[in-house]
């Protein structure tokens, strides 16, 4: 038996939503403007009207829309997060993606009919944690943290009936999701509260003539010789010095790519595959979604995986199987 995996695709903008649906997305995920979702970058995300239109477009074309409300509500200020859940429910979103315990409880109590997914930001990496969210808040699907190997994912799926969704392509944080304060240590803005890691407002490039320095806040994250293209200073993919040796201590500038493992993931009992990249443009979304669509369909038919070359759209042109493979750890 070959179960067809659901393909969940990023929509940072209404235009990206449409091209993702056109390219074969079974579902798109998106967020409202502001701090209530984990990709709170300038020029991204949806207004209420845009979500309304996006929902109509997706539903007309047989696609679903998941709304991420996956940051952690600030103490004393729950309203923006609650309103985001209320609005998603009122407009008819197919699911909300939540990370905070208090907000999950709010959604379960106030919108029991609205499907609830657990965000990767909640970092539920065990059957015990997943069953806890399922039991307490009726979570139907969990997006798994990128710390698990395929064997560990298969073991999890044997222990619970909660659907699992895994990231297969795109930028990949090295640290456990939702539990990293490196960016707030340097910029004062917490990804968990503000939805921004290494925010552009704190990024500087310093031209020293013979080299280009990328900085986040006061700290040098990387130095590039004159002829090298300077990357964005995401902290966990910077170059640092330990024991007198400079290296990409945490992770190289590279992208997650495990699309060749789609049949294995299907066998491991995964329900959905997720593509990262709400910050990416239409061309990227269109190309990546279409390519992975072909892979998923071939796998569902039991056919060999068609060759797919996405090197030109990946960070630094380099790809990694990430935590799915034991060798990464």
């Amino acid at each position: 038996m070959s179960k067809r995996l659901e393909l969940v695709c990023p929509a940072g903008t209404p235009a990206a939503l449409r091209v993702a649906v056109d390219a074969g997305a079974d579902a798109v995920y998106l967020g409202f403007r502001g701090a209530t979702n984990a990709r709170n970058f300038p020029g991204l995300n949806f207004s209420l009207d845009e979500l309304d239109e996006g929902l109509a477009y997706a539903h007309d074309h047989g696609g679903k829309v998941f709304v991420a409300v996956n940051t952690f509500p600030e103490a004393g200020n729950p309203d923006p997060w609650r309103r985001a859940v209320d609005d998603a429910a009122a407009l008819g979103a197919d699911a909300v993606i939540l990370a905070d315990i208090g907000l999950a409880e709010y959604a379960a109590n106030n919108h029991p009919e609205l499907r609830r997914h657990l965000s990767v930001q909640a970092s539920a990496s065990t059957a015990e944690a997943i069953l806890f969210y399922h039991r307490e808040f009726g979570i139907k699907r969990v997006i798994l943290p990128r710390v698990l190997t395929v064997a560990e994912i298969a073991a999890l799926n044997r222990q619970t009936s909660v659907e699992t969704e895994v990231f297969v392509f795109g930028a990949m944080g090295v640290m456990v999701e939702g539990r990293c304060s490196m960016s707030s240590y340097v910029t004062g803005r917490s990804p968990n509260l503000c939805g921004m890691c290494s925010p552009p407002s704190h990024v500087r490039y310093l031209d020293r003539g013979f080299e280009l320095v990328s900085k986040l806040g006061e700290y040098t994250v990387n130095v590039f010789p004159g002829d090298e293209l300077a990357g964005y200073p995401t902290l966990c993919r910077g170059r640092f010095v330990a024991r007198g040796r400079a290296s990409y201590l945490f992770e190289e500038p590279t992208s997650l790519n495990v699309i060749h493992m789609v049949p294995e993931l299907a066998k491991a009992g995964v329900a959905a595959l997720k593509i990262e990249g709400r910050q990416r443009g239409r061309a990227y979304v269109s190309e990546v979604v279409a390519a992975i669509r072909r892979v998923v369909d071939a796998a569902a038919r039991g056919e060999p995986i068609p060759p797919v070359d996405l090197a030109d759209v990946t960070e630094g042109g380099r790809q990694t199987p990430g935590g799915f493979h034991k060798s990464w750890h």
């Binding site: 209530t36 600030e74 103490a75 315990i101 090295v174 707030s184």
Partner: protein, 314 residues
């Protein structure tokens, strides 16, 4: 109103010390340090745990004989069945107060009294109340929480609030071991190189600025968090428990200094200076408390900046 007695907790050791060194350290803390509570248990890397385990009973006995409460802290990242077994074993200890550092442990401890450590995301009062209803009686929230949030959480009176006031700030965890990676080793064959850095491996930027410290799969700040000058303000918010994170320095003196400030026997500013000598020149930080960059050292003030509310209208 009489001030509530403030208590000191020695947090779990976040670094890999030899089993004998850990034993002797905790014996000394039992005999000499004015702390009320000591957290034991491996939080950072499950591979380290077996070394100290044989000494655990005698260390617990010594601490309890000295009148100290013992808390067993669970792993911050539970990624496989081997890790889960460890959490299960601790959570099933009926005679111990257990600190959950992952939702898996929260699930297992639900329904009985337990503590919540800083690796569980407790950012707001709704989450805090939920956890309290399920048995949490003491919560040490994420280290990046500003005073404004701490004060709102403390005001709920749902649990006993604990705030880390001394030690490097644990900033992130990974499935990958950076200590091993720095030596081109794999986590499975790491040779426990993390033991060479009893306060973490210093990490500098390419421009030579001290930045972070690495303990296996955990990233910490290079600076030592220090809220000795903010203790009074924290007490004013209703925080009654203060956590000292253990380091390879004279922790008995560190604990004594915090005890003296809490008891009004020592001036906070003088205490701040003395602590500076004890950490041998490593800079202090308190920025998270003031809602600023965590690395920053802000001038102490009774007031905290109100700061703009998050979650702009969408």
């Amino acid at each position: 109103m009489a001030p509530m007695t403030a208590k000191l907790t020695l947090g779990p050791l976040l670094f890999h010390w030899s089993a004998e060194k850990q034993r002797d350290f905790h014996f000394r803390m039992a005999d000499e340090a004015p702390v009320d509570t000591v957290c034991l248990g491996e939080v950072v890397c499950a591979k380290r745990a077996p070394f100290f385990e044989p000494y655990l009973p005698e260390v617990i006995e010594r601490l309890e004989a000295a009148g100290k409460e013992v808390v067993l802290s669970t792993l911050a990242l539970v990624a496989n069945e081997r890790d889960m077994e460890r959490v299960r074993a601790l959570s099933c200890e009926p005679n111990f107060f257990v600190e959950a550092n992952d939702v898996a442990a929260v699930a297992l401890l639900s329904g009985r009294a337990h503590a919540i450590g800083p690796f569980v995301n407790v950012y707001n009062e709704e989450t805090l109340r939920f956890l309290a209803r399920h048995g949490a009686t003491r919560v040490c929230p994420p280290l990046e929480l500003p005073a404004k949030s701490i004060s709102i959480l403390a005001r709920t009176d749902a649990v006993e609030m604990e705030v880390q006031v001394f030690g490097r700030l644990a900033l992130a965890m990974s499935a990958r071991c950076f200590h091993a990676r720095s030596r081109n080793l794999h986590r499975d064959s790491c040779q426990f190189v993390c033991e060479e850095d009893p306060d973490g491996m210093p990490v500098e930027t390419l421009d030579g600025d001290p930045f972070l410290a690495v303990s296996g799969p955990q990233i910490l700040s290079y600076t030592f968090g220090n809220l000795v000058r903010e203790l009074e303000a924290l007490r004013g918010m209703g925080v009654r428990r203060f956590r000292l994170s253990p380091h390879d320095i004279d922790m008995v003196s560190v604990a004594q200094i915090f005890r003296d400030v809490l008891d009004g026997r020592k001036d906070p500013e003088a205490a701040f200076q003395t602590l500076g000598d004890l950490v041998r020149g490593v800079p202090f930080s308190n920025g998270f408390y003031y809602g600023a960059e965590g690395v920053r050292l802000c001038a102490p003030s009774g007031q905290t900046a109100a700061g703009p509310a998050l979650g702009d209208i969408h």
